[in-house]
């Protein structure tokens, strides 16, 4: 049982003394004051209370929790990578070369004509994409008219929020009975007000939108654009490219598809690819190669900036190195094994999986059980549970994505955990977890009486 060394109890208040006039400074600062040996013990012990991909399977659907190669960390930590964003272009040719290289890699993988690396996360990529769509329509004099973004009901929450952030009205598209886009509903939804359709493919049920060409036609015929949410790109590596399917804009989640670590919630990176028609609107700056080396340039009708500098540079280094390591063979095999793993695991799991054929992830239904309770109980079997209660099209959803890095043995262990819980009583799963460092945590109390800092604990 670890009693944290660093906490509200270990603070010391120091008086502030300065060469500045008193009225420009604060009076004191009160923070924990521990020695380095104590700090290291504190954080080592805390880390041991944290689950990661390196400790066990992490089959969170839509999150693509892959193994993160260690060598990419070494590269990102190289002193040559530690440069200031205001360095002259001539003096950071290595950085610009890498950015250009990653742009080129992503163009090939996405089947896109141009890529910006600036968005610092997937949602930021979505928002950049929304801004690009808006700029495109505005350039055609349809900016005001096209004020709707169409999004399937099974889409990621960020899609809705990003569209709203761009000032768009969201038109929610109900799924067809087969879990995919309902073409009729789509036809009804799109029109002269449509700026874009945002689509995840395979969708969050793991299903490939087989009608993607018709979908693209419907949207394009209405004058709208097709946006690809890259969250599930891992399923398509080497097998299909958003650009080839008719998508005009897409984002990549490098922390998913290209194994840059999630880091407890970030940083990630959300590069955005576009077709030639949209390239002129890309954020400023873009990198290009010239005879004299690499240089920045501002696209003709750039939307400007979506990040204060150039995005999450160190994350981009890791993504570039990962893609360089795997190449065509490795990337294609990653998708193959990811899909095989999802199919194999689903086969072993006793819970019903209503929609198929799925690819890299499947959504099982906990049936009479509460999916959130199922997840809590799975913790007792020393595995990370799937994403729960979403997408809502499946009742008590258990959205499961093992990724390619799990072995058959681990998948069997995961299946055993699923199946053990499936056979357990409501009482058992409601009182879970029992074997974890912390027992079930009271979320209601946390929200009703928010205590968000040591200061709140003092009271």
């Amino acid at each position: 049982e670890y009693e944290p060394l660093l906490s509200e109890k270990s603070t010391e208040e120091v008086e502030v003394e300065s060469s500045l006039p008193d009225d420009l400074t604060r009076d004191s600062l009160e923070l924990p004051d521990l020695s380095e040996p104590e700090l290291v013990r504190h954080y080592v012990r805390l880390s041991q209370q944290n689950y990661g991909v390196d400790t066990g399977p992490y089959p969170l659907g839509s999150c693509t929790m892959k193994y993160n190669p260690k060598f990419t960390e070494d590269l990102a930590a190289r002193p040559e990578a530690a440069v200031h964003p205001d360095r002259s272009e001539e003096s950071v040719q290595g950085t610009l070369g890498l950015l250009h290289g990653l742009q080129e890699q992503l163009k090939k993988i996405g089947g896109m004509d141009a890529v910006t690396l600036q968005p610092p996360a997937g949602a930021a990529g979505e928002f950049a994409g929304i801004l690009l769509a808006k700029a495109y329509h505005e350039s055609r004099g349809e900016g005001a008219q096209r004020d709707e973004i169409v999004i399937p009901d099974s889409a990621h929450g960020t899609n809705f929020a990003s569209a709203a952030l761009g000032g768009y009205d969201v038109v929610e598209l109900p799924s067809a009975d087969d879990g995919r886009v309902d073409l009729d509903a789509l036809e009804a939804a799109v029109g002269e007000n449509t700026a874009a359709l945002m689509l995840t493919n395979p969708n969050t049920l793991g299903l490939f939108e087989r009608d993607i060409e018709e979908i693209a036609d419907v949207v394009h015929d209405a004058g709208g654009l097709l946006y690809y949410d890259g969250a599930n790109l891992n399923a398509l590596l080497g097998r299909a490219r958003p650009g080839d399917m008719g998508f005009d804009i897409m984002h990549f989640n490098v922390h998913k598809t290209f194994a840059t670590p999630h880091g407890g919630g970030g940083p990630g990176a959300g590069p955005v690819g576009v077709t030639d028609d949209l390239a002129e609107f890309l954020p400023n700056p873009q990198v290009r190669e010239t005879d004299a080396g690499f240089e920045f340039f501002e696209p003709d009708s750039s939307i400007g900036k979506v990040h204060g500098f150039y995005g999450n540079w160190l994350v981009l280094v890791k993504a570039y190195a990962y893609i360089a390591r795997l190449g065509d063979d490795g990337l294609g095999d990653a998708a193959a094994k990811a899909v095989l793993n999802a199919n194999y695991l689903a086969e072993q799991v006793e819970y019903d999986v209503p929609f198929e054929p799925f690819h890299h992830e499947f959504v099982a239904s906990a049936g009479d059980q509460d999916a959130a309770d199922v997840a809590k109980r799975m913790l007792d079997y020393a595995v990370h549970p799937p994403t729960t209660k979403w997408p809502e099209i499946v009742s008590e959803a258990l959205m499961t994505e093992p990724t390619e890095v799990e072995s058959k043995r681990t998948l069997d262990q995961l299946a055993a955990a699923f199946n053990a819980v499936a056979d357990e009583s409501t009482e058992t799963i409601e009182s879970a977890p029992e074997r974890t460092t912390a027992r079930r945590i009271d979320q209601t109390e946390a929200a009703r009486n928010p205590r968000l800092s040591w200061h709140a604990l003092d009271n």
């Binding site: 801004l131 194999y344 009271d442």
Partner: protein, 442 residues
């Protein structure tokens, strides 16, 4: 070592693959893909695979194309010495390979560190709420403007930024507010800081949001924060202060000058220069709790009655509230926040104050030394500086900057005859060489 010829990180032996295919009743993995032929990608990307050794060599070689230049650069991105334990701890597998803490029972370690980070910011700002990160200073500023829109009772459309704000930040704010019928305007600065008279004229009842920085982008410590705060308050506008954890360790507490929101780049602690990769600091008054963007970690209890931490107030967030969320942010900068928290803890309160005071003294000393160089006048602005200052050069500044770069030093050319120079504990040992280079080229 498995996976020859495929992904080096997929553990399947051929036997296992066969067994698994049999279990799912498929002849080949390709059978599992339900992709119409017409959109099948049958070509190759043209990307060669490499061994780990080859990849390391190649990428390291590419990065080595960066010139080895001593940076005296700042203007929103700063370099302080990062103690080794920050790397040691932050690279621990359990931290860096974990996801957002949706299952708090097995992620108490990370949650507690994020709670430490929030607590650090609460102490530094005096405001009651800090989230556990936005992407960077620019997006944090933009989110603050959007927060203003949500929390302000009366209407108001004008977002006011000081004219010396970096244009990149202005552009980010413009993009973020573009869907909300807000306009972004800049107001005059003088002597590197807010021109209070001009601001007084600029602010009106349609003003939603007034932003100021301390220190300013030009490195000057703002002396009119109370007045700026009062001005915003008079017009029912939000007062947003831009700063960073080092500056906040020494300078006036935001809460004491009436700040409603504090933004900035918290990665000045925890990260080396990272080509602009940052950590969006976001703190605000308790009143705005339900409108805060981003993730919040709260204290609670577990079923055994023990203190435990959890993400809380998630109903504000996109995965629950979708288009009515307070922000679209999902993946944030959690791992950078962890590094910042560790660095701050390593310094402790005394170390933070000492470091900040050094950031007052170093530019004072360097400016004085440069002022002694023929052809250079420094600082150009009056007042006290923090980390950086603007210097006047008789020669054209871009030429001086280029000559300095040839000597191995990077500074900002910010005007026809103005350079901006940033000095911290990280580049301090190179001061004599920089001064000598100035004497050579200025």
């Amino acid at each position: 070592m498995s996976g020859a010829g495929g992904s080096p990180y997929a553990p399947h032996t051929p036997d296992e693959t066969a067994e698994m295919l049999a279990a799912v009743d498929a002849d080949s993995v390709e059978d599992l893909f339900d992709i119409p032929e017409s959109v099948r990608f049958t070509d190759e990307y043209g990307l060669d695979a490499r061994t780990e050794q080859e990849t390391r060599r190649e990428v390291a070689g590419l990065l080595a194309e960066n010139d080895d230049v001593t940076e005296f650069l700042g203007r929103g991105h700063y370099d302080h010495y990062v103690p080794s334990l920050v790397d040691t701890i932050s690279q621990r597998s359990e931290f860096i390979t974990s996801y957002t803490q949706y299952q708090p029972e097995i992620t108490q370690g990370f949650l507690q560190v994020l709670f430490e980070y929030q607590s650090l910011l609460v102490e530094l700002t005096g405001l009651e709420i800090a989230n556990c990160s936005m992407y960077d200073a620019a997006t944090a500023l933009a989110e603050a403007a959007l927060l203003a829109k949500r929390v302000r009772q009366a209407d108001g459309t004008r977002v006011l930024l000081p004219e010396n704000t970096r244009e990149e930040r202005v552009s980010v704010v413009e993009n973020y507010v573009s869907g909300n019928d807000l306009t972004v305007e800049t107001y005059p600065t003088e002597n590197g800081t807010v021109n209070l008279d001009a601001l007084r004229e600029a602010v009106d009842d349609d003003t939603l949001f007034v932003y100021a920085e301390n220190p300013s982008t030009e490195g000057v410590i703002e002396e009119s924060l109370h007045e700026i705060g009062a001005l915003a308050d008079d017009h029912d506008a939000l007062f947003c202060l831009g700063s960073d954890p080092v500056a906040l360790s020494l300078l006036q507490r935001p809460v004491d000058v009436g700040a409603d929101v504090v933004v900035g780049d918290a990665a000045v602690l925890g990260m080396p220069t990272s080509y602009g990769m940052g950590l969006g600091l976001f703190a605000c008054r308790e009143d705005f709790l339900r409108q805060v963007p981003g993730r919040l970690v709260g204290a609670s209890e577990d079923a055994a009655g023990k203190r435990a931490y959890t993400l809380t107030l998630q109903t504000r967030e996109q995965h629950i509230r979708r288009e009515r969320a307070t922000s679209n942010i999902c993946t944030n900068q959690a791992w950078v926040a962890l590094r910042t928290a560790i660095h701050a803890a390593q310094l402790g309160p005394g170390g933070l104050v000492d470091l900040a005071e050094q950031m007052v003294e170093l530019p004072r000393e360097l400016a004085a030394e440069l002022d002694d160089v023929r052809g250079v006048r420094a600082p150009v602005n009056d007042g006290h500086h923090f980390r950086e200052f603007v210097a006047h050069t008789d020669q054209p500044a871009p030429a001086v900057a280029a000559d300095l770069e040839a000597e191995g030093f990077a500074v900002h050319a910010v005007g026809d005859h103005e350079l901006q120079v940033c000095v911290t504990d990280a580049n301090e040992p190179a001061i004599p060489d920089l001064v000598a280079a100035f004497e050579e080229v200025a």
